[in-house]
Symmetry: C2
Subunit: 385 residues, 2 copies
Amino acid sequence: MSNSLALRRRTFLNFGLLGAAVSAALPVKAFAQAPANVSFIAPTADNPIRINFNENALGMSPSAQAAARDAVAKGNRYAKAEITQLHGKLCDMYKVPKNFLLLTDGSSEGIRALMGAYSRLPKVQLVIPELTYGDGEHFANLYNVPVVKVPMLADWKVDVAGLKKAVDGFDGFSIVYFVNPNNPTSTVTPASEIEPWVKSKPDNTLFIADEAYAEYVSDPKFKSMAGLIQDGLDNVVLLKTFSKLYAMAGMRVGFAVGAPSIIKMMKDQVAGEKLNYPGVTAALVSLDDEPFQAYSRASNLESRKILASCLDKLGVKYLPSSTNFMFFELNEPIRAFQKKMATRNIIVGRPFPPAMNWCRISLGTPQEMAYVANELTKMRSEGVF
Amino acid sequence: MSNSLALRRRTFLNFGLLGAAVSAALPVKAFAQAPANVSFIAPTADNPIRINFNENALGMSPSAQAAARDAVAKGNRYAKAEITQLHGKLCDMYKVPKNFLLLTDGSSEGIRALMGAYSRLPKVQLVIPELTYGDGEHFANLYNVPVVKVPMLADWKVDVAGLKKAVDGFDGFSIVYFVNPNNPTSTVTPASEIEPWVKSKPDNTLFIADEAYAEYVSDPKFKSMAGLIQDGLDNVVLLKTFSKLYAMAGMRVGFAVGAPSIIKMMKDQVAGEKLNYPGVTAALVSLDDEPFQAYSRASNLESRKILASCLDKLGVKYLPSSTNFMFFELNEPIRAFQKKMATRNIIVGRPFPPAMNWCRISLGTPQEMAYVANELTKMRSEGVF
């Protein structure tokens, strides 16, 4: 992580941790113009509250939207100059040379490219926590890479020792894919548990650190893997996306940071850095729009507070969230709960085995979360939640 | 090809072939609102005439631009519903079931996916004409697939018999990648030369038909391979892009049509149909914007006429163009000519070996082509062209 990002994170900590009153801290003055698509309308069947894909309900920053709209007029051209500019800007941010970074079509493409590249090794396995984002396993299956799933610890914690054991006991190449903070659990795996392992440079091991949600973290136990890459470790690759904090899921911009040997292998698995013009320009502007970043974080924290406060009142167990979603326990299978919520025009997360009695709710706008909290409270009083 | 496309093509033929007077036929009345970025400004070093990447200088249709701009406000969401809609619409257009089509991030991703998929076969080669678009060879190299290049015939014609010979003499799997009309030669390979070979179903052979420029064709010798796929042939896959006629190079939307077995293999090599929101909506609207399609074709034909007329006057040899670019002979190496043109703020195509004394000029707007024609005429009178 760049110093400026680290600085912003420290500033952010002053907003207070989960549960503290943060509405007063919403930097509305610094962010004079609210995004156009943030107003609240009570959900209907045609226009439900969509809190199922960890999207950012705020919409892109107005400055990024303006830049993307302007870019549409250039959409007949390849965005060659702007792609080079974005690549350079990210290298500066991460303080790495140009060959340490690859732009990708969201971070999904990064995961695919890595699995594609490493599947060509003679003997390779993917090691993952059992409860995590599915793309690692998905692409491993497609590329015929055997997958070892390590069961979770209590409260769905990632079993780092278990991951290590699975690597140590294998005589081929191991890819360890871990999302931090983890999805769908929303929790941080402390740097103190992972860093010593990565730094010990285990033979034939690649660590894929998917930090899609890192910008939301206020837990000091978290540390980005970027520092290890800057320090010269060549057994770890960082995956990032503009989909979350910057609210750009549909704009398809992500990137990977790692040693040139890894980036080269990835590059061979993608059809060039051919990102779309509106997405590239939106990303460029988003990196500079610090007021929106602060607003995006504060809004997320406010939404988290509203949902947490509701779950606390109802006595529902949930995991501490360091992301833009929360994971809480149901007294029934998620499939049944999903259906109940859908009838109330609220689309919640899908089943995440093996946590089949847990629900992931992406944090929508504070107004959406107030609505959802109210529905959950009504459901509790009706005995259906 | 769909009937409606075929119908439009027939209508288009009425505009007349290369060299006929077409300006009067420009459907300006049917296309009341000209794209915003079509006005002509004399080129400068900072703002040269870019006729090097076969982009469409008109910019997207105003209706597609409006849709893409509207979509920016939704760019925080994955474009799931619209992607499904686009997929369905294209299947309807091509009269194929849903599993015959895959949306891709431009057609480059389709080429990469195919090379990635087929590189996993035990013994495989890529057979290409020596002078063609480079992505097939590029991805074959990346995936360690040996490439057999078949020399061109006179006037840079594709040697179909030579391609066939290279396939017949190989005891593994052959991928035949051919672009039709071809790039950079701009010429059509007659269906009569390819179809019998494809229909003969040679063992262990896949034909990749890259028809990026097919919408510009008025030569009746051309026939899309779509018909063979509709007829049930499972040894051919069609690659298409919205980059050219629809002026969407920077919007990254393409697709592949082929038998489900091929589409499935490709799908396993891409990170989902995760196209960008502005691109998907622009594509949806572009398919319906027939006035723009007609305008785009007519403008291209007008530009082709201007350049052809200039080259005729100067006695410069060029190949008959069925695309949005032209290929003409120089009396010096292309590198030297490129530099001369760059000093006049005109960026022309790169070297295309083995045609090292030929130049590819993408057809810009008619005004740009008039400017270029004037510069070429001046250069000739100065003895430098």
